[in-house]
Point group: C2
Chain length 418, copies 2
């Protein structure tokens, strides 16, 4: 389903679009103290992932995050810490509709005269802070349909049969599943429709309602266009959803790694062998001699790094790499994995090396961790026996995959044996 949408990615809407992100939930259904939108994943609050999903869409001009008054400072800190742009924070109301309404008004409803009118977007997209995986191509569909129809919303097929219950807790009747859908987010509205809907709706709507599409229908006569969204639009609701979200985030971060060989022929041979072994484990690898010149562009993309050193107990190459990554601010949004692979050419473990590195790499790893970079070491012995060598390379590949996928902070600085 992801593939079909890719041709849409280049398209941009040619009218102003802004986003209202209600983030006032209390998270009671996860059973946790922290509201879900502020739960951290790899050190970053969920809401920051959601904000980033909108921020990277070029044609979205601004994002209004609506939070409970007691979380205004927390949200402001998050925006500063993760260097979000395009974002404003406004205080929420006592219900979901009051909060969304505050967000809509902040987009230009309250101002007088020309200034307010100029700032007003043509289309407002409303989303949930706890649905972090929304993609540009789907936002494009919602924005276009909202402009054409006045309102548009994401739907999903029902997973369970919906039933009506009697007051006493017995089955009254079940609904025919095919005729109904779950209403999800994002939803899009022309500014005029959502603004008018909130102007016209009753106190009872503000107090007890939850569905913006319903207000658009009832108060503006707008039948929203419904568009089936991908399953990744689901709402992080229960404790299990936190694990699911973390897994999706880790999958995204674990797609590719860049092997830096330092130009050594031995290291290049190892890199090729690793590439072959890791290829079977679904991790894209690129092999480069260094990060100079054109290759410095690898520092700016979503790569993890594997620095191969031959016959060296010296960490200077990996130190240089760490400095470059820190300079590029690459670990701002999520921890970055750097693996130092040391190839020792003797059949025996090198005693001199073993005495030195464990603490050397451990210290370097402790420093790197303060910069959100997770440094691990793998030692691999260049056996003369081909079969043993292949086994070691496969093992190094398995360890590499596991380290990149799991990102376990407790294991930084370890020199693992392949």
């Amino acid at each position: 389903t992801d593939e079909a949408g890719k041709s849409d990615r280049a398209r941009a809407v040619d009218f102003p679009v802004s986003v209202v992100l209600p983030a006032g939930g209390t998270g009671e259904r996860t059973g946790l103290q922290t509201p879900k939108q502020f739960c951290t994943f790899l050190g970053r609050p969920l809401i920051s992932y959601t904000v980033q999903a909108f921020e990277r869409v070029s044609w979205i001009q601004s994002i209004v995050v609506v939070v409970a008054k007691e979380n205004m400072d927390l949200m402001t800190d998050i925006i500063q810490r993760f260097q979000h742009k395009k974002v404003r924070v406004v205080p929420g109301g006592s219900t979901r509709h009051r909060s969304i309404c505050n967000g809509v008004l902040a987009l230009g409803g309250e101002g007088e005269g020309e200034t307010a009118a100029i700032d007003r977007p043509k289309v407002v997209i409303i989303h949930d802070a706890v649905r972090p995986f929304v993609e540009e191509d789907f936002l494009y569909k919602i924005a276009m349909a909202a402009k054409e129809q006045g309102a548009a919303g994401a739907i999903r097929p029902l997973v369970s049969t919906v039933i009506a219950t009697t007051a006493e807790g017995y089955l009254d009747h079940s609904l025919e599943r095919a005729k109904y859908r779950a209403s999800e987010m994002p939803q899009g509205f022309t500014f005029d429709v959502i603004y008018q809907a909130y102007q016209r709706c009753t106190e009872s709507d503000f107090e007890f309602g939850t569905e913006c599409l319903h207000l658009a229908l009832q108060y503006c006569g707008t039948n929203a266009k419904l568009i089936q969204g991908p399953p990744t639009l689901w709402k992080v609701t229960y404790k299990r959803d936190l694990a699911a979200a973390e897994s999706i985030i880790k999958d995204t971060l674990s797609r590719s790694a860049c092997i830096v060989t330092g130009g050594s022929a031995h290291a290049a041979t190892l890199a090729d062998a690793l590439q072959k072994a890791v290829g079977a484990l679904a991790l894209e690898l690129e092999v480069i001699p260094d990060l100079m010149g054109e290759n410095s562009s690898y520092l700016l993309k979503e790569w993890n790094f594997i620095q191969v050193s031959v016959d060296s107990s010296c960490l200077s190459e990996v130190e240089t790499l760490l400095r470059d990554l820190e300079a590029a601010n690459r670990a701002l949004l999520h921890p970055l994995v750097v693996i130092w692979v040391r190839l020792s050419s003797s059949d025996e473990p090198s005693i001199s090396g073993r005495e030195v590195e464990p603490s050397g790499i451990m210290e370097l790893a402790s420093e790197a961790k303060t910069q959100n970079i997770l440094l691990y070491g793998i030692e691999i012995h260049q056996a003369k026996d081909t079969e043993q060598w292949e086994r070691s390379v496969l093992k190094a590949a398995e360890i590499t995959s596991a380290l990149i996928r799991d990102r376990t902070p407790a294991l930084v600085g370890q020199l693992l044996q392949a």
Copy 2:
């Protein structure tokens, strides 16, 4: 919500209850080749977890698993490999209702005369193979309500608003969320009700229906009692649900560890320090000198093991532990974590030890892995400096927690530095 039900655990129903477990799904919604019920978690198929959930309930007499004909052999293999009792496999039909009906008939509907009547359960519980976390106390509620009312079913509040769509894909109207519920599993029926419902229902019901509660209402006039279940009853449906299920399974396996000190006072000191440090990380620890006598009961429960050795490069203690665990068949249903913690009393790394163990523990770990036991090593140096010692113990505790939680097969046999 879990706490409230615990007093129910001791209660047993005093009438025969059997289970029908339709497991014929094709898993298309996960986007994976393997149907969800056969996806493995820590080496074991999901359906085996679900079967185990029923098998451990003393008052459930038999379980009928209904699978597609092409998966009969696979299912039979799973039952043998994981030593499931009480289970029969029957071939499914072309739809969900046909499969469930086959399961019900296998419980005694088709036989003639007294034998069939004797085998027939009073109550049949119907569940999904892909809802592995069902608990005894909830099954008790369903079984009791089914016996009293003829039918009972699990419900959950709706997470999303349900909407009716027009044929053209526009919003028609939205349902008032409070009046409706999601119908989930398990459901329970007296044998007579579910048997009669399938005898009386139409070909169209068999072909297009999915809801057993609906058949009981329509063909037997039985309004099912609806009981709200815990969120853990959810159906593993999408790819993200696989990660959520794995996380719940890992949480369950990571609750407790048993520290074996070998009777050494130094080891006991370390164990106490670890207990204190790990306590903050939410892992229950017990410290015992060995697994002799009464302590051998630890081998039969859900404990992970930490073997502490002092000043020893010798793995004999951990070898003994591994043999005991293998003899107790403890790793049949899931991988078991054993951590060898080596306490070296010198301030310096002991050179002699370092040369020997990495391959010694690696070999032992490779053997253990074939028995589904994951062996890892942690080396901790007994520093004279108290602050440094406390730092090392905390680090050992963090590594221990991570190893027990993550159960990463790629890292077995590593000797990690604390």
